[in-house]
Amino acid sequence: MKKALTFAAGLLASTTLVAAQDTPVLTVYAGDYIVSEWGPGPKIEEMFEAQCDCDLQFKPGDLLPRILLEGEQTDADIVFGLNTDVTKKARESGLFAPHGQDTSTLTLPVDWTDEVFLPFNYGHTAFIYNEERITDVPASFDDLLNAPDDLKVVIQDPRSSISGLALVLWVKAVYGDKAEAAWEQLAPKILTVTKGWSESYGLFTDGEADMVLSYTTSPAYHIIAEEDRTKKAAIFPEGHYFMVELSAKVAGTDVPELADEFLAFQLSEEFQSMIATGNWSFPAKLDAAQWPDGFKELNLPEKVLFYSEDEAAALRDETVEEWRRALSQ
């Protein structure tokens, strides 16, 4: 019996060894929220492996610091989940190659012509509220600034959070030179500022705040996963800031064909139909008619605001400093 087991174990070991030698590996660096079992990672792996005859391996962690630290010695073939606030730095590193995909058919609310960074989903910044808790919902950004001070809002810090940074750019895009004055007006309504999105959203769902800085897509989670229709995004006519998640091919990859295949897969209908509920965001290439039902119910902004990578980089220090000054008083 023991012998048989040893034999079986040996057989298993040798088959996995053979498999490891024959199957090409595609290494994908992605954020922890992607790779987590509650993120889209496991589904992406399953779907892509079914078509590529390869082994897709996700490596989670801090994307940009990690790849910049590793430089040309990186194991990554694809980097998945970058945001526009870091693409400038990533592009300047020269570590990434053009994606070669047709971006003219994307369904983003802005034109996308970037040859290196390829979108897979998007959303907009928005303040989410619980309609059972507040009835006097601000109908515009101006309304929010002029709301009584007992309306309590939680936001994220632009120095430690991507959504926080998008918020200061949003305010800049709406108020321009008067951004600092807008922040001063908003300051008494800001209950607190958190390090990241999770902390803010936790405070909001615990009933600590009336509104939370999040995304236009957040209510979709509550509708689809919890059948809860009380969480809504307040839509402002001044416009909402566009946030997109991107991937890119590493120039030094040892499996370039596989990396290209992955990028094409990322825009396929199969992937795009899954990503909405996988990552709770709008698909980058899928007509609204094909969105999951919960997403079709969402309030969408009429106007979308967006700074190019260069504009955002030029404005960043100034807008963060305006924010800090106004909220430090």
Binding site: E37, W38, V193, L203
Partner: protein, 505 residues
């Protein structure tokens, strides 16, 4: 001689863990562009909040520890064990627990509203202090309590026989004791508050409450400005080690005063005023520390039954990391339980976890795949981070034992091993149990450097809590946090029990 060699090896490995990563980061960095006005503001706030937090924690801990030392009541051991809990909770969980009591729609405000009382506003410097006292009061209390319980019972009996009043007892027994324990406790809490980041920001209400650690985080994650991160990290390290030096200077050395290791009833503090005061202190502290914990538990009950297999698996990983760290930390701590050893050990919490993580990554990367080392690195870093607490717990007693028994050792010509086996370790049992429990529990809750070393197949429980929160699953996250709380407390209880306070053994 062997003991000396061990101490040198331990000191070198600890120093290496500080110098190595910092050097690695500096070597990889570009030119440093200088500090901004915002950095100076952050430095100021960091110092103010850390000083006040440490001061308040220690001040409140003194009467509380005294009350616990001289009162016996049913459930006292359980209370002492539970008091350790805030210290070992993951930060975000503890903050949500605190807000459930002190927040906008917390218990207090809900109780005040019908009475027409004004709304309690938690966000601000006072909120930061409240949270830091919540985290550190238990630690300070345990450290001081440890010292109180180490006073040979004969001293109290002698004081009673001589008819010493409260004031005389304070001057002859209690004050010298506090001088020996309090500066170190202050230093260790000051240093841990120096690197506070998420708590300070969330409860501070915004950028006014920016700490140096946030600036380090920003440099590292957003700007990839390693020079700035390293410079800020060095400032933080410098502050911490200076605080350690000051503590070292003002701490008095133990005097030889050994007892017969017997439990003798306390004669002091039996008058009505003392009794009432003690009851009030214990009651207030228990309410302050345990109510938020109860809220964490309450919030988690619904979610804990819905946790999937992977969360339990992660709990297993966390337990192994915790046990590994505990072993490593004690091996480090025993030879380092001296004045300079404790000072050096402070570096464990003084060095920004972000600088440490990036530095280790740079060092490990040329030799091995960081992903495969994830759990080992986490265990080592957790041991390193727990070292200052463990040394603070062990050192006063270790020195007292050395002072008390050195003549005996010389007279009997005890070998190093016999000394350890028959004198040193048995007398160090109580602090050792406490130290081991604290390390194990801290390692369960710590996220530390995992960001660069995360491995999807070897995730730890705190990582799962964050993943659940990041995926909108707040209820399950609360459940996983409760599981983490139960396991941490369980480990703490198991180890601490070995040297249970006030036990007759």
């Amino acid at each position: 001689m062997a003991a000396r060699a061990l101490a040198i090896i331990a000191a070198l490995t600890v120093a290496g863990l500080v110098v190595g990563p910092v050097t690695a980061v500096i070597l990889r960095a570009d030119a440093f562009s200088g500090f901004t006005p915002a950095d100076w503001q952050a430095l100021r706030f960091t110092l103010v909040q850390a000083t006040l937090s440490a001061l308040l924690s220690v001040l409140f801990a003194i009467p509380l520890a005294r009350a616990l030392a001289r009162r016996q009541f049913p459930g006292r051991n359980l209370l002492v064990a539970l008091l350790g809990a805030p210290f070992i909770l993951p930060v975000i969980v503890a903050v949500l627990g605190l807000l459930a009591v002190f927040g906008q729609s917390g218990l207090l405000n809900r109780a005040f509203a019908p009475l027409g009382l004004p709304e309690l506003q938690i966000y601000g410097l006072h909120g930061v202090l409240l949270a830091h006292v919540f985290f550190n009061l238990p630690l300070a209390t345990r450290l001081i309590l440890q010292g109180w319980l180490a006073v040979p019972a004969e001293q109290f009996r002698l004081a009673a026989t001589l008819g010493l009043g409260k004031r005389a007892l304070w001057h002859t027994v209690e004050l010298p004791l506090l001088k020996r324990i309090v500066p170190g406790a202050f230093a260790v809490i000051f240093v841990i508050c120096l690197s506070s980041f998420a708590v300070a920001l969330t409860l501070g209400g915004g950028p006014r409450a920016t700490t140096l650690e946030l600036a380090i985080y920003q440099s590292m994650r957003f700007d990839f400005d390693l020079a700035r991160a390293a410079a800020l990290g060095l400032v933080q390290l410098g502050l911490a080690l200076s605080a350690g030096l000051v503590a070292l200077k003002v701490t008095s050395m133990p005097v030889a005063a050994k007892g017969l290791d017997r439990v003798v009833p306390r004669w002091d503090g039996q008058d009505g005023v003392s009794q009432t005061l003690d009851v009030v202190w214990i009651g207030l502290a228990a309410a302050f520390l345990l109510t938020p914990l109860a809220m964490v538990a309450l919030n988690g009950v619904a979610g804990i039954t819905t946790l999937g297999w992977s969360v339990w698996q992660a709990a297993g990983h966390s337990m192994s990391v915790a046990l590994g760290s505990t072993l490593l930390c004690l091996l480090w701590a025993l030879p380092l339980a001296t004045r300079w050893g404790e000072w050096l050990g402070l570096a464990g919490i003084a060095l920004s976890p972000l600088v440490l993580g990036i530095g280790l990554f740079l060092i490990v990367r040329p030799f091995a795949n960081p992903f495969e080392l994830a759990l080992y690195v986490t265990a080592t870093v957790n041991a390193f981070v727990s070292l200052p607490f463990v040394l603070r717990i062990l050192r006063p007693e270790a020195e007292a034992i050395r002072a008390d028994y050195t003549r005996l050792r010389g007279a009997l010509g005890l070998s190093g091993w016999a000394w350890l086996r028959w004198v040193f370790l048995p007398r160090l049992k109580r602090p050792l149990g406490f130290a081991a429990g604290l390390t194990a529990a801290l390692s369960m809750g710590d996220l530390g450097v995992i960001a660069l070393f995360a491995d999807p197949d070897r995730a730890t429980l705190p990582l799962k809590v964050f993943q659940l929160m990041g995926a909108y699953r707040m209820e399950q996250a609360a459940g996983a946090a409760l599981l983490l709380l139960i396991l941490s407390l369980g480990l703490f209880w198991l180890f601490d029990k070995g040297g249970r306070v006030g036990s007759a053994s």
